[in-house]
Amino acid sequence: ACGDDKSDDTATGSGTGAKAGKVGVILPDTKSSARWETADTKYLTEAFKAAGVEAEIKNAQGDKNSFQTIADGMIQSGVKVLMIVNLDSGTGKNVLENAKKAGIATIDYDRLTLNGGANYYVSFDNNEVGKLQGQGLVDCLTAAKAVKPVVSYLNGSPTDNNATLFKEGYDSVLKPKFDSGEFVKGPDDAVPDWDNAKGGTIFEQQLTKNPKIAGVLAANDGLGNAAIEVLKKNKLNGKVPVTGQDATVQGLQNILAGDQCMTVYKAIKKEADAAAELAIALAKGEKPTTATGTVTDPESKATVPSVLLKPEAITKENVKKVVDDGFVTKAELCTAAFADACTKAGIS
Amino acid sequence: MAATPLLELRGIDKSFGPVQVLHDVELSVYPGEVTALVGDNGAGKSTLVKCISGIYPIDAGTVTFDGKQVAIHSPRDASELGIEVVYQDLALCDNLDIVQNMFLGREKKRGIVLDEPTMEQMAGETLASLSVRTVKSLRQLVASLSGGQRQTVAIAKAVLWNSKVVILDEPTAALGVAQTAQVLELVRRLADNGLGVVLISHNMNDVFAVSDRIAALYLGRMAAQVKASDVTHSQVVELITGGRSGNLGLPPEKPTDFVEIMPGAEQ
């Protein structure tokens, strides 16, 4: 049965009839990153709207209980496809199981639910994100001709599985450098809840402990900014490279100002479009054809049909790319203080 | 009864939930006189006082002060009219010291700053006049005072001010011999200065020693309001315990809604 693009169809789809079923999407939170609300929600909504498929997009606000409550409600209201970004694999798996029991097709979005058995997986590779961060820092330090630079880690929340994956990624790049003595390993701390204020204190103390810190691997742009503010206080900003992730306006501005060395851009629109495409096909009862790749679940060893997109490293040289993609607008990025830098970076 | 009453209550009713505590109570307080309010435990004396001072809202009835009908909604209203009360449940702030409690709500100031020296001096003088001798420091927290000392602080707090009516609910209950004498003398002095004074007491000697008029509450009803010189000790006791004495007091039928102990009604 095909959906025939009645774009303002408000019936609560029970999956019967000739039209497409409803799609439920659960996003994780609003605090770990701005992307979920500013980007994912927007792009997914647009994609479903364009296809005339009814979709319900909810954010669990970092609360596992809410995450399950939302899932209960969606399953109850008869969605045909459930797409989740898990808060952790355990609850994610549980929700996927409940959905499966009710005969609902499932998609892991952005985060793979280990052992969860989702039907499809759409994402950037989080391990790859970490590798880009590690490599970015190496490049910046090399460019600065740093000798045996001390590198400190400002990891993500210890309770976030993604943070663990990022760390595995950048460790795989940096550890060989530490082992070879090319770089020196400095303080290595996780920041609870990705809390930027705490991140600032932690970095300040890292610097007190080890004033020779010459490079900071910050797990995302918020933490990067926290480190940069401390560096500014010590007039060291721009002299100590800092990494980031998510290509937020703040992060990009820090890059333009020369205070941040790089960020990782996840072209969320592409990710959202790909996921929506899968979901739409499933909601219409068709077999999707776009999930051409596969990923092996490291725990269950099952092969999950996937769409995998590549995260991209962004430096001063290619900031323009993010604007061209429409991920951030010129108006947001190029405020008065950054107008010059924008022009220099070729953003017009 | 030549003078007009300073404070006059008419038809006061007061219930707590299903329990009616005051029935159609009348009371007149005259300037320059001490009116003793007597009654058995639980008769409603303290409740009546709290109705006058605005702690409890009344269900029905009128309050006339200085000839004008007034509505007293809070203790603040009462003290603005010039009514001061020493409550039976003293209501002191245990976390404040003696001076702070005595001046609570009417602190002396210099500019915006509290004038502690003045307050301390005045407090010291007042307490000394009430025969308080064993307080170690005026800066002692009232939490650490003895029962009688607390009572004295509460009395001193109320009589420190220029008011027109002073109501004292069992002020001497916790006091020693000397202190009791001082307080009774003070009560008389206040009345002699033209104030209207209401004294609640279970001690008949004290009542007859200082009062001009006696009002007896019985089970929430005003049994009689008479001149002290017109009744005897034992008549008053009869009014208190039985609600009537000879042709004084309430009609003989006992009010039906006032039953005795009632075990078993679930709270």
């Binding site: 319900e56 209980n65 409550t69 355990g90 | 299903p18 075990p263």
Partner: protein, 419 residues
């Protein structure tokens, strides 16, 4: 007002209550501000009407009703324990993460050590008891304020949880008895047996109490009132059961889903247990006494320190039970289990239900009513289509409305005199 009197204990004459006088008295008490759980229940009803109107078919479905029990169970369990702590005017900020730690202990035993379900469950509960002993000792014997002790524990337990699980990891528990606890439902027959049994026991207890008082010549309430009360509870339980034994599977072809969620009798069981302990035992009486006036309790010879320790033990024990329910529902433990808003919601449940933070005033049922308010808000809010920001705001406002009904009712009553 013709009243018949009777002579009762101690040779005192009293008025014999009738059904009419009983209602008159009740109304008097209500007008006098003695409202009990009435306003909180009213708030709950209003909430249900709001969401029911906005999302009739989804909110008012048997499935959603059943889900509510599972959604609320964890917080209600923790809140029940907190009621004991709050009754003493103490606080336990660590209850949330204590739930997490106990749940993690259970999960680790289940998975990594292959311990059986029953023993793992017991180990979780035992962990709760040990935690409670520790907290209680620090508060009662060392004398550190409970806010500080449990703030420290809040931090420490987070660390314990992280270390138990290894940073960022999470553990899924295997299928079995524990996982059914807050996920599956009772068979239809058992659902009915339980409901009818509960009503029967309630009726019996009511009758025995009545007879006990009558035999001693104490005032008894009219038989009619007793019958009404029994009928009320009966109707509530039986209607609930009737709804929950409907088929509620989305796709009954795949699997049938009916019966009372196991969580319901678990909540009910603990409600009865702790209500009994607080209301009908010496221990419960002493808890209220210490909470009302610790010095008076001490003078009455009550071992205040022991009582203080014991409430923390009950608090952490129930946190452990809550942890089990949370883990059972989530099918897993992770470093955030019992974190984020769990604690705030649990304390909030108790307070919204009517328990005072200053001690001496509270009942176990408050945890259930307050927990229901919170669960309904969460449940209903997520059925609406609003952005996260607006959802947070709406949740706050709705919580305020539910509590405001309560406050205004009490205030109105207080204006008639009693406060």
């Amino acid at each position: 007002m013709s009243t018949s009197t009777l002579e009762t204990a101690g040779g005192v004459k009293v008025v014999k209550p009738t059904v009419a006088s009983h209602f008159r008295d009740y109304w008097g008490r209500v007008r006098g501000g003695d409202l009990g759980a009435l306003p909180a229940v009213l708030g709950l009803v209003i909430l249900i009407l709001i969401f029911g109107t906005a999302r009739t078919d989804t909110f008012f479905s048997a499935g959603n009703f059943a889900n509510l029990f599972n959604q609320a169970a964890g917080v209600i369990m923790i809140a029940m324990g907190l009621i004991f702590v709050l009754l003493l005017g103490e606080i336990d900020l660590s209850a949330g993460f204590a739930a997490g730690v106990c749940g993690a202990v259970m999960a680790i035993l289940l998975t990594e050590h292959g311990v059986n379900q029953g023993l793992s469950l017991l180990a979780a509960l035992a962990t709760g008891v040990v935690i409670g002993l520790l907290l209680g000792y620090l508060v009662a014997k060392v004398g550190i304020p409970s806010f500080v002790v449990t703030l420290a524990a809040f931090l420490a337990f987070q660390g314990v949880l992280l270390n138990l699980l290894g940073e960022g990891k999470n553990i899924s528990i295997p299928d079995g008895f524990i996982k059914s606890l807050n996920k599956d439902s009772l068979p239809v027959t058992w659902s009915w047996i339980l409901a009818i049994g509960a009503v029967a026991v309630f009726a019996l207890v009511q009758f025995l109490r009545y007879r006990g008082r009558a035999k001693r010549g104490l005032v008894t309430e009219p038989i009619g009132i007793m019958a009404l009360r029994i009928a009320g509870l009966g109707a509530l339980l039986l209607i609930t059961t009737a709804i929950l034994t409907q088929e509620r599977a989305i796709n009954p072809a795949i699997a049938s889903l009916k019966g009372v969620p196991i969580a319901a009798p678990v909540i009910g069981g603990f409600l009865v247990l702790w209500t009994f302990v607080l209301g009908r035992t010496t221990y419960g009486r002493h808890v209220y006494a210490v909470g009302g006036n610790a010095e008076a309790a001490r003078r009455a010879g009550i071992p205040v320190d022991l009582i203080r320790i014991s409430v923390f033990v009950i608090g952490s024990f129930m946190a452990a039970v809550g942890g089990v329910m949370l883990v059972s529902r989530a099918g897993s433990v992770d470093p955030n289990t019992g974190g984020s808003t769990t604690l705030l919601y649990a304390v909030g449940a108790a307070v919204i239900g009517g328990t005072s933070l200053f001690g001496g005033k509270g009942k176990v049922i408050h945890a259930v009513i307050g927990g229901a308010v919170i669960a309904v808000i969460d449940n209903g809010m997520f059925l609406m289509d609003v952005s996260s920001g607006s959802r947070y705001m709406a949740t706050g406002v709705i919580l305020l409305i539910a509590a405001g009904v309560d406050a205004l009712a009490r205030r109105r009553a207080a204006a008639t005199g009693n406060r």
